[in-house]
Amino acid sequence: MFRQLKLASTLALKDGRLFLADRRGFALAFVVPIILASAFGMIFDRPGQREGKLQLPLLVVIEEENPLARSLVNDLKASEQVVLREVDRATAERELASHQASVALVLPAKLGETRPAIELLYHPQAALEVRWAEGVFTEVFMKRAARTWLAPLGLTATERPFEVHRHGIASGGEFNTYSHSFSGMTLQYLLFWGMECGLLLLRERQRGIWLRLAAAPVPLTTALLGRALSTTAIALLQFVVTFGFGWLVFGVRVTGSPIGFVLLALAVSLLAAGVGLFVAAVGRTEACARNLCIVVILAAAMIGGLWLPAFLLPEWLREGSRLLPTTWAMRGFDGATWQGQSLLQLAPSLALVFSFSLMVLLAAIVRLHGLESRRRRGVLA
C-alpha cells in the first residue's frame, strides 16, 4: 500500500513538473480565469445597486413647451428613481432603435387636456424598464395633480400615506457579482484543466509512454491514481490562486462555512480529475476529444449558471440544469461566499458534487482498465 502511494506520488510529481514546463497550460489555469472573472465581475457590478440607489436612465420628449410639461420634467429630475435626459422625438427613436437608450417618455402637446395620451417608447428588450418608467411618471404626475387640485381646498397631503422599507432577501448576505464571477470562472477553468489532463493522458498513450509504464512495476490503478492526484492538487492550487486574487483585489469573501467552502473546492477539484480521466477513457483522438470537450464544458458552464445567474434561463432549462454538477457546484459556491450558508445548508450541493465526481472517476477507471485489458490481449493497438 505504502509503495503504491509512493509510486502514485512519483507520477503526480512528474505531472507537476510537466505542468510547470507548459507555459500555455499555466496561463490557461491561472491567468485566464482571473482575467475573465474580473471582467465578468466588472461588467455586472453596479455599485448603485448595492447602495440602494438604482436609477433608470430615461429620455423625455416635450412635444410642445408649456408650464405643466416643464414642471413635470422638473419633478422627474428631482426624483431619485430616474436619470433624465431631454431629447427630441427623432433622437429618442434613433437611440431606442440602437438600444443606446431603453425608455423614452413623450409628453404630448395637449398635456393640459382631459386624459392626455402619454406615450412610452421602449426597446423590445426593456419591458421591465418601461413598467418602471410608467410607475415613476404616475407617481410624479399624481403628486403634481394633488398639489394643483388639493391645495385650493387647504389639503397638502401630496406624499404617499405609507413608508417603504426595502430589504434584499437571500439566504445570506448581499449579492456580490465578483463572488459569483470568480466562482463561475474558477469552476469553468477547473473543468478545462481536467480536460487538458485527459488530453495529456491521451497523448501519453499515443506516444508509447503508457506502454513504458506498463512494462515498469506500476499497476494501472496506481498510474491512474497518480494522475487523479496531480489533477486534483493542481486544481486546488488553481482555486487558491484565483480566489486569493479575488479576495485581495475585489473583496471576495467566504461569508458562509469555511469548511464547506474547502470541501466544495475539493469536490470540484475531484470533478476536474474525473473529467480528465473520462476524456482519456472515451476520447479517440486528441483533436476530436478537445473539440467535443470544449462544447460540453461551455454548455455545462452556461446552463449551470457559471456565466450569468441561472434565473435568466428559461424554466425548462433551469429544471434540466439540476442534472448538472456545475449547477450544484455553483449553488454551493454562491452559498459559501455571498449567501453565508452553513455547512448543513451546503450539504446537498457537497453531496451531489462529490457523488458525481466519484461516479465519473469510477466510470473512467473501469473504462481505462477495459481498454488496457484489450490492448494487452492485442485487440487494440
Binding site: R212, P217, V218
Partner: protein, 336 residues
C-alpha cells in the same frame, strides 16, 4: 510473496540463474484475429546477445512485447529467469528493461528529469538513482545535454536516451525493439558499445532487427521469424550455413546496361546463374565458382566489361532471400 531467490536475484548486479534467461514454450500471440506469433518455442541463454530477425510483420515486436509482459500470450508460456509474469508482476518487471520502438519520453522535461522519473518507478534510492543516471547518461554520451529539454534533441539522441532509460535499473534481460532504426553512425556505435558491454557483464540482451548484417555483427545467436513462425534458430554461422546453397559474385560494370542488353543477357544465362543489376552494380549467384567464371566470360563475350569484382565471404545478408522468403528490406542483398 515471491518464491525464495526471486528477491535475491533482484539485487544490484544480479544475473539470471541457470534456468535460461528467457524460455518460450509453444507461445502463440494474437493481434485481434491475426496470429502474430504461432507456436514459438525457443530458449535465450543468460549472458548472450540474441537477435530476433524477420521482415516487417513477422512478429518480432509482438514477441518482445510479450517478454516484457505488456502483451498477453494467447497460449503457451514465457518464463524469464524461470518466473512467469502473472505470478509476480512487479518482480518480473524489474528483471526486464524494455525499450520499445517508439521513444517513450517527455519532450517537455530534461533528460535528467525523464531518467529520474523512470528510476523512481523502479524504487531506486536517491543516492543510487543519482549514480545510475550519471552512469547511463555517460554510457550513451548525453551527459553534456542532460539538463536540456528532450524536445530539443535529435531523433538519434532521443533513441539513445530511450535506451538509457531501460538500463537504469540494471535489468537482467534487456529487450530492444529495432534499436538501430533511424540512428546515425555515431549513435549506432554507442548502441553497439552499450549492448556488448551489457552482455560482457553477464546479462542478456534480446533485440529485434530486420538488418541481417547487424544481426551477424552483434548477435551470439539469432532466431528468424517468418509470419510469426520460427524458421531458423542458432548462431549466425549456423543459420548462414543452413541457408547458403550458392556462391555469390559482386561486380561493378563499366557502364549502366541498356534495357536491350539486359534482356539479351537474361536470354543467354540459363537458370543455373541468377543475376541482378542495380545501376552499375551486378550480383551473380551460382551453384559453384566454375559457373560464376563461365558467367563472367559470357558477359565479356557480350561486350559488357566488369571493371572490378569479388566473391565476398558468405554473410547472412547474402542469403536474405532464403532467410526471409517473404521479402527483405532495402538493398540488403547488395551489401558486401
Amino acid at each position: 510473496m515471491p518464491p525464495p531467490g526471486v528477491n535475491d536475484s533482484l539485487r544490484r548486479g544480479a544475473v539470471m540463474p541457470e534456468t535460461g534467461a528467457v524460455v518460450f514454450d509453444d507461445v502463440s500471440i494474437r493481434l485481434g484475429n491475426y496470429p502474430a506469433v504461432d507456436g514459438l518455442t525457443l530458449r535465450v541463454e543468460t549472458g548472450e546477445i540474441f537477435g530476433l530477425l524477420g521482415p516487417n510483420g513477422s512478429g518480432k515486436s509482438s514477441t518482445l512485447a510479450a517478454i516484457a509482459g505488456v502483451l498477453e500470450t494467447h497460449s503457451g508460456s514465457i518464463r524469464v529467469g524461470g518466473h512467469l509474469q502473472k505470478d509476480h508482476p512487479a518482480e518480473y518487471a524489474r528483471f526486464i528493461g524494455y525499450s520499445a520502438q517508439q521513444p517513450a519520453l517527455y519532450d517537455e522535461l530534461s533528460a535528467h528529469a525523464n531518467l529520474d522519473f523512470i528510476a523512481c518507478l523502479y524504487d531506486l534510492p536517491r543516492q543510487r538513482r543519482r549514480l545510475r543516471i550519471a552512469h547511463v547518461l555517460d554510457q550513451v554520451g548525453l551527459t553534456h545535454r542532460a539538463r536540456e529539454r528532450v524536445g530539443t534533441y535529435s531523433g538519434g539522441m532521443q533513441r539513445r536516451l530511450h535506451l538509457a532509460a531501460s538500463l537504469l535499473h540494471e535489468p537482467a534481460v534487456l529487450l530492444l525493439d529495432e534499436p538501430s532504426v533511424a540512428l546515425d553512425a555515431e549513435s549506432r556505435d554507442v548502441l553497439f558499445r552499450v549492448v556488448t558491454a551489457y552482455r560482457d557483464e553477464g546479462r542478456t540482451v534480446v533485440f529485434s532487427t530486420h538488418l541481417l548484417d547487424e544481426a551477424e555483427e552483434w548477435c551470439d545467436r539469432v532466431a528468424v521469424l517468418t509470419r510469426g513462425r520460427l524458421t531458423a534458430y542458432g548462431s549466425p554461422a549456423d543459420v548462414l550455413h543452413s541457408h547458403t546453397t550458392k556462391q555469390v559474385l559482386l561486380g561493378i560494370l563499366q557502364a549502366e546496361l541498356t534495357e536491350q542488353a539486359e534482356v539479351a543477357l537474361r536470354r543467354r544465362f540459363d537458370h543455373d546463374v541468377v543475376f541482378r543489376i542495380d545501376a552499375r552494380r551486378i550480383r551473380l549467384e551460382a551453384a559453384d565458382l566454375e559457373q560464376l567464371g563461365q558467367a563472367l566470360t559470357l558477359l565479356g563475350a557480350e561486350g559488357i566489361e566488369v571493371v572490378s569484382w569479388h566473391t565476398p565471404v558468405a554473410r547472412l545478408d547474402h542469403v536474405a532471400e532464403t532467410v526471409f522468403p517473404d521479402g527483405v528490406e532495402g538493398e540488403a542483398c547488395f551489401a558486401s
